[in-house]
């Protein structure tokens, strides 16, 4: 058996290497900071023959996703990546991908959206796509980005729903971290070739998304809604089998740290959640029984796993890196409150919006923030 390879790589390179490991067929792309280096790395791998795929340098993100959707409908395994305004520009086609039940996998490297103009991370971009029918992972390390892209392809192709893999600009995308690349035969075992049930095939002429009357349209939409919920066991299974094969584990729908006996629970996604582990340690040293619950899956929202995992009478401190405009606070907090309502009345939810536009989130700052919230 070949051994895994350990290298130092950035988050964007980790994503590109996962695309190579997944033996992707088609990658349409367009640059936007901080995602650009994923596309550059893939274009280079295609040029030098490392990746046997087509890179299509289209003229904008709306076209990126349209080319991705069309290639996927043709039966290819398709990947792309974007950030912020690129993701917003895709909005119409995001719906086309999910409604069309096309298993495209896309990285969104989280970045604040303009106006005003910013380059740095927050989570307004991915959360603003909540209702587009995509499964959404949020990752907290370079390794998790790599692992999740492979899991995402598996889940997407099992249930025919596109998957977005989110991670923070700069803190993940541009930072070097150790990265373990499992042997290719292990990955091939985990992720079999894509064999769609249906594709655009002249031997079997059929229509795709022509006019559909309500009697057919409504069941299509219901099926999409049901299947998004039904992806949760597949997400868990993918994480489990990935661990069985590679030995690596990032959590499944959620990831927890020192949670069992926690009285104060930090609740956040992406790189800030990695840093929050250290905040939890600081708080523990200060005598606060702190823990962490990180939803790895934002959509479908892992309701049951969160409800099962939260200790009795915990105070949950939701740290949102986004705004829920028209409501106080952030989006994660409202999602959490809505699933706890009537089921876990013992839980108190508190919320802060922090880290907008890339404001640095250090372990100390967040530990202090949580302490301050305890007194509110």
């Amino acid at each position: 058996m070949k051994a895994a390879q350990v290298i130092m790589e950035t988050g964007t390179k980790a994503a590109a290497l996962a695309v190579k490991s997944a033996r992707v067929d088609v990658v349409p792309g367009y640059p936007i900071t901080p995602q650009t280096s994923i596309m550059e790395a893939i274009a280079a791998m295609v040029e030098n023959g490392e990746l046997n795929a087509r890179f299509i340098p289209v003229e904008g993100e709306h076209s990126v996703l349209a080319a991705a959707v069309a290639a996927s409908a043709t039966g290819a395994r398709v990947f792309t990546a974007t950030s912020a305004n690129g993701l917003l520009y895709m909005h119409e086609v995001l719906h086309m991908a999910s409604g069309g039940r096309l298993p495209v996998v896309m990285c969104n490297v989280n970045r604040g959206i303009f106006a005003p103009w910013t380059l740095w991370a927050d989570h307004q971009d991915s959360f603003a796509q909540r209702d587009t029918g995509w499964i959404q992972y949020h990752c907290s390390s370079n390794q998790e980005v790599f692992n999740t892209i492979l899991q995402a392809f598996r889940v997407a192709e099992q249930i025919n729903i596109p998957v977005m893999v989110n991670f923070d600009g700069f803190a993940i995308s541009h930072c070097l971290m150790p990265l373990t690349i499992p042997p290719q035969e292990d990955i091939d075992r985990f992720l079999p070739p894509h064999e769609p049930e249906w594709r655009l095939d002249p031997a079997h002429p059929s229509s795709f998304s022509n006019v559909t009357m309500a009697a057919e349209y409504a069941p299509f939409r219901q099926m999409l809604s049901d299947d998004i919920m039904a992806s949760i066991p597949l997400v868990k299974q993918a994480a489990q089998e990935y661990q069985d094969i590679t030995g690596m584990w990032d959590g499944d729908t959620i990831d927890t740290y020192r949670l069992e006996d926690a009285e104060v629970v930090a609740f956040a996604v992406n790189s800030m959640a990695a840093e929050l582990r250290l905040s939890v340690d600081i708080l523990r040293e200060q005598g606060v029984k702190a823990g962490l619950l990180r939803p790895r899956l934002y959509l479908p929202f892992p309701t049951e796993d969160i409800i099962d995992a939260l200790p009795q009478n915990a105070q949950v401190m939701v740290l949102d890196r986004n705004y829920n405009f028209g409501h106080p606070g952030g989006i994660l907090a409202s999602e959490l409150k809505s699933v706890l309502y009537g089921r876990r009345n013992d839980i108190t939810v508190k919320n802060r919006v922090i880290g907008i536009g890339g404001i640095d989130l250090t372990r100390r700052f967040m530990a202090d923030e949580i302490r301050a919230m305890m007194d509110e």
Binding site: I56, V58, S63, A66, A70, A71, T74, G75, S207, N210
Partner: protein, 312 residues
Amino acid sequence: MTTSIKKLPDIELVLSGNGACGGCPATMALRIVGKALGPNAIMLLTPSCSVASMGMTPKLGYNWPCINITFATAGSSSSGITHAVEIMKEKGRLQGELPTVFAWVGDGGTYDIGFQALSAAAERNDNFIFFCYNNEAYSNTGVQRSGATPRGAFTTTTPTGKRQPKKNMAQLMLEHNIPYVATATVAYPGDLYDKVVKAKNTPGMKYIEILAPCYLGWQFDMPDTVQMSRMAVRSGAWLLWEAENGKISFNNPSSLIINGKKGAAPVDEYVMKQGRFNRLLKSPDAASRIAEIQGDINRTIDFMRERAKITI
């Protein structure tokens, strides 16, 4: 020589019982295209009359695999399909001959909202045929103006007649340096057929624009579609030409107009036959506005005659 209509293959890819209006020029043109392409093709459409009339899920009136995709993206989506079939073939996952990939798009999806994606696909020279069936308006949404609507035409958004001339879209595509550009129209089916066959056998990006006189938008009698198409050509309002690797040649009868062997018919008769223009006659400045229509036609004829001389 142009293939005679009697010699066109019997195969029908447009099935009977679709939802188009009687005398629909788009459907008529698609039928000829089908005869040239045959069944081994993948069709991409954007929201338009041709989608509204292709049949309702799960039925399909065109005998190809068809995808209706976001309005602005015919160019990029077709590239997606083309690259997908090519790489799958290379990897041994597709057997047999590569299918022809073609986009079938209205003038709205070509001149306006889809222009960016089309231009980029042409610049990349991706291997597919982009057909624009040009009925000179957004017909599916009830006849609004597009960049293809000629000056003087009434639409629901040009209630006193359009004030601007149309774009010369086929020429714009020519300036993208793609291997094949052609114009056609339904009154000349053999000419259309030959051009599609040529496009099918040319690698790279091909653009074919088909003038499609639509009785609803142009306001003439439904059975007169073909006659209107012929009048458009005879008046020089539509020029039949093709360009292989940038070299333009004009096709009959437009070639006669271009080389001066036969004058273009005055536009008046063409205008009078169409409600979208003849309403201008009621306006106080009728004469000058019809002169503008004639002026636009003359200018395009003169321009294309000169443009064809550039062969570098």
